[in-house]
Structure formats: C-alpha cells, structure tokens
Amino acid sequence: MEEAMKFYRNEYWLTFPLLLCGALGVLGFTVSSRFEINNLVMAAGLIVMFAGLHLRSRSRYRVALQMQEQSLTERWQQDYEQKIKALQHEHSEAVSRAGSSQIEAERKHIGKLINELTQCFDMLSSRLDGQEPGKPQPASNEPLSLDARITDLTQRFDVLIGFLDSKAEDADRQEFSIEGLDSLCQKVLPIWSNQVEMARRHTEESISDLAERFDSLSKRLDAAVLASQSTMEGDHDSNGGIVELLRDSQQALSSITQALSTSLEEKEKLLRSIEDLSGYTDQLSKMAWEVSSIASQTNLLALNAAVQAARAGDAGHGFSVVADEVRKLSRSSGDVGRKITETIEAVNDAIENTLVISHKFARQDKETLNSAEQIIATVLSHFTRAAAGLSDSAELLRSENTAINHAIADVFVDLQFQDRVSQILTLVCGDLNKLEQHLEALKNEKDIDGSCRSVNVEKWLEELSMTYTMEEQLKVHSGEKAEINTHQNTITFF
C-alpha cells in the first residue's frame, strides 16, 4: 500500500515538471513557428493532455491517501483499545482492592442497621398485639443474605403501611360515623355562632357607651376647669374674675373710708366753729353785763333826778314824772340785761353740751372709721386668701384635668381592644358558619348518592390561616402562646 502511495506520489510530482516542460516546449515551438494556427492547436492539445495526466494522477493519489489514513486509524484504534482495556483492568483491580475493606465495613454497618430495623419491626409488632400481618417465619436457622433480609424488610414494611392505612380508614370511618355528631354540629354551630356574635355586639355597644361616657367626663372636666379659670381670671365676655372683683372692692372700700375721713375732718371743722361760737357768747355776756351796768347807773341817775324834782316842788313835778319813767326804763334795761345774760349762759350751756356731744361723736366716728378700716382690711385679707386658695384650687384642678385627660387617652387606647376582639370573634363566627354549611352540603350529598366525602382538614386549616389579620392569630393557630401587645403603636409612612 505504501509502495503504491509512493508510486502515485512520485507520479504525481513527476507530472509537474512534465507539464512545465510541455508548456515551455509548446511555448518555444509556438514562438519559433511564429504563431501559426496549426502549431497553436497542437500546443493546446499537448497542454490539455498533460493537464489530464496531472488530474488523473492527483485523484489516484487522493484515493491512495484515504486508504492509507483508514488503515492507520484502524491500527491505532486497535492499539488504543488494547491499552484502555489494560488500564481499566489495572484500575478495577486497584479499586476493588481499595474498596473491598470499605465495602466490608459498610456491609457490617448495613447488617447492624438491618438488625436494629428488624428489632424495631418486632417491637412494633408486639405493640400492635401481634396483629402485624404478613410477618414471615424463618424457614431455618441459617443466616440470610443482606439482599434477602432487605427484601424481607421491604415486604414487611409494605404490609405494615397497608395495615396502618386500613386501621386509619377504620378509625376515620368510626369517627365519622359517631351517631348524631353531624346533626349535633349542624344544630349547635349556629347557636355558638349566634352566641359569639351576640357577645361581640354586646361588647361593642358597651365599649361604645363607655367611650362616650369617658368623653363626656372629659368634656365636663374641661368645662369645670374653664369655669374655674373664668371665675378666677375672668373671660372674654364677663367683666372679670375674683381677682379683679377684689381689686374693685378694695378701691370702692378705700373710697368709702376716704369719704368717712373727709366727713370726720368736716366735723372737726364744725367743732372748731362751735368752739369759736363760745368765744362770741363771752363777748355777748360782757355786753349784757355792760347793759346791766348802764341800766343800774341810769336807775341811780333817775333816782337822783327824782330827788331833785321833789326838792323843786311843783315845778319839778313834771321832771319827777320823767325821772320815774327813766327809772322804769333803767329797770327794764337791767331786766333785759339779766335776761340776756341768762340767755347767753343757757346758750353757753347748750354750746358746751353740743361740744361735749360732738367731741363724743367725733371720737366715736374716729373709732368707727378706724374699726371700719380694720374690718375692711381684714375682710379684704380674707378675700385675698380665699382668692389665693381658689387660684390654687383652680391650678390644681387644671393639673388634675391634664392628668385625667392623659388617663382618659390611655383608656381610649385600651378600649381599642374591642376592635381586635371583634375581628377575632368575627373570624371564629365565619368559620363556624362555614363548618355548618359544609356539614349541610355533606349531608345533602350523602342523601343524594349515598357517598360520603371526607373533610380536608389541612386545606380547611390553611384557608382559616389565610383569613387572619394579626400575628397573634397566626401564633395561636400554630399552637404558640401569643403575647398580647396592647401598646405597639406602629406608624409607617410611605
């Protein structure tokens, strides 16, 4: 084959010089024959012949090359297969040597597990009071192989599962067939639902009423504080509070005492005038005494005149008459003077009495004024203290009102439990109604076709859990103890 290849390859490569020589010959021949047409045709024929020779040689070379490649591939493949087989053999021997000990250990471990499993099965069998069906009896005392023991255990396991399934179905049938339970549920569930709903409504009404009462209480307290404040400090509509009233009263009473003081001063002026009047009466007494003295002198003069008239005789008769009349006048004047003196003394006595009484009244008025001032001061002081006490009470009332309002706000927070309780009870009511409807549907199906559909408990519980709105409900649903958080106050802004 290789010889043929060499031949073809040589031939192939030989065609190129031949082709080149032919072409050069043709070209030389053509040039030398001055491009005659016959020569050109012959040259072309030669070129075509050499070209054909070249193509044939190349195709034969390719065929030979393919054959050589195929033979080489087959030979190498055989060599590789032999080598791979040898390596695989070596590797399997090594692996089998290395793993034999591990396999042995695993075998022992599996044997031990199978023994334990067998013991467990035996214990389960004894717990089932020997009711485990299909338990094979050992045919002989010879130890079984692992495969045989596993097959045996698998069979026992399958039979046991079937046995337990049948037991569970029996139990379900027994449970479902508790006489009158479905009828009882159908009758008792709406009652429970209505009772819960009634309790929910009752709670809601009571809480609403309670909230209203607290609100009213708070408003009344506010009104009381406002009234107290307006009493103390006044408001926009009234004229003022107690403080202003006290100030006005103090001013009014001060003006009264001022008026009284002025009146006292006027009385003292009057007294001084009366005292001055007593000075005039002294002068009047003196004047009356002077009148009496003049009358006495006139009387004496008239007496002397009468004596001289008597001495004159008849001529003095007329003069004696005049002297008598003068003497009468002097006596009358003396009488008048005495009367004036008596009157002046009476006036003096009256003035003195008036002065005494006026002084007494002035003293009394002064004492009364002092007493009134003291009483007014005392009363105002009492009022001021009372107002201060009222102010303190108002302040206390205000602070207490603030504290009570805070307490009421806390009560409002606590009262919101009703909404949470209401939602929980509404969900329970809804589920009770759903159960009642489900039982009714089951009963109808049983009446129609005699078949009885079971309740998918897991699905039921899942649907129930989907209706919860609070984490506490989910926790209770999953059997956890739910912490009741009454002051969580979570605000999330978006």
Partner: protein, 122 residues
C-alpha cells in the same frame, strides 16, 4: 377654619373614640361605617384627610382607597390606614393603592395626632 377629616370605621367604639379625640383637637369629623357609606359622603366638599380601617363589611378599606383615588376632587387627599392588619403584604397593597401612612391599632392618640398634623400640613 377647622380642618375636615373623614373617618371610616366599622367599629362603633373606635368611631366614638376617634370622634372624641379629633373633635377635642379642633378638627371637624365626618364619620362613616364602611367604604360604601364613606363614598356616599364624598360630595365634592373639601376634605383635608381621610382615615380608614381595612377590614370592613360591604367595601373594604383598600377598595375604598382605590375608588377615592379615581375621584378628581380627592385624588390628592392624604389617606391614613388605621387597622389591626400588620402583615407586610397588606401594607404593600395599601402603599400601591396610594395610602400615605399605615397605623396599627391600638394607636396612641398623641402619635396619631402628630401624624395627622404632619400629613395635613404637607
């Protein structure tokens, strides 16, 4: 002039509590017992804030919010959800519907009033 707040809640006691709390603070309060009732009270007059529960009969809070956001007069009215719901899924639903704040009951009046004041002035 007093700001007006629409409060939607099916629980009469919570309505009472909120009415008292908000009135005391000087707000004018319009009360509604569920979403449907509240929709009937949106007559175009100015409402500065809406507070709504989530779980209510006839129309729940989220549906109510979606309908309110379709009314041109109340499209930009801030809405607070006041509810016992504290699950993230529901909160995200509310956020997507256009709710501005989510308050879980029981609420503390001072914090609620602070949130109201913040949203009304915003």
């Amino acid at each position: 002039m007093a700001k007006t707040i629409l409060f939607v809640e099916d629980s009469a006691s919570v309505r009472q509590v909120m009415n008292s709390t908000l009135t005391r603070e000087g707000y004018q309060v319009i009360l509604a017992s569920d979403g449907q009732d509240a929709m009937g009270k949106l007559d175009g007059s100015k409402i500065h804030l809406i507070i709504s529960d989530v779980n209510m009969p006839n129309m729940d809070g989220i549906s109510f919010v979606k309908q309110v956001k379709q009314l041109p007069a109340y499209k930009f009215t801030p809405i607070i959800m006041l509810t016992t719901e504290n699950q993230a899924e529901k909160m995200n639903e509310g956020k997507a519907a256009g709710v501005k704040a989510w308050i879980v009951k029981p609420f503390q009046p001072p914090q609620l009033l602070a949130a109201i004041s913040q949203l009304i002035q915003a």
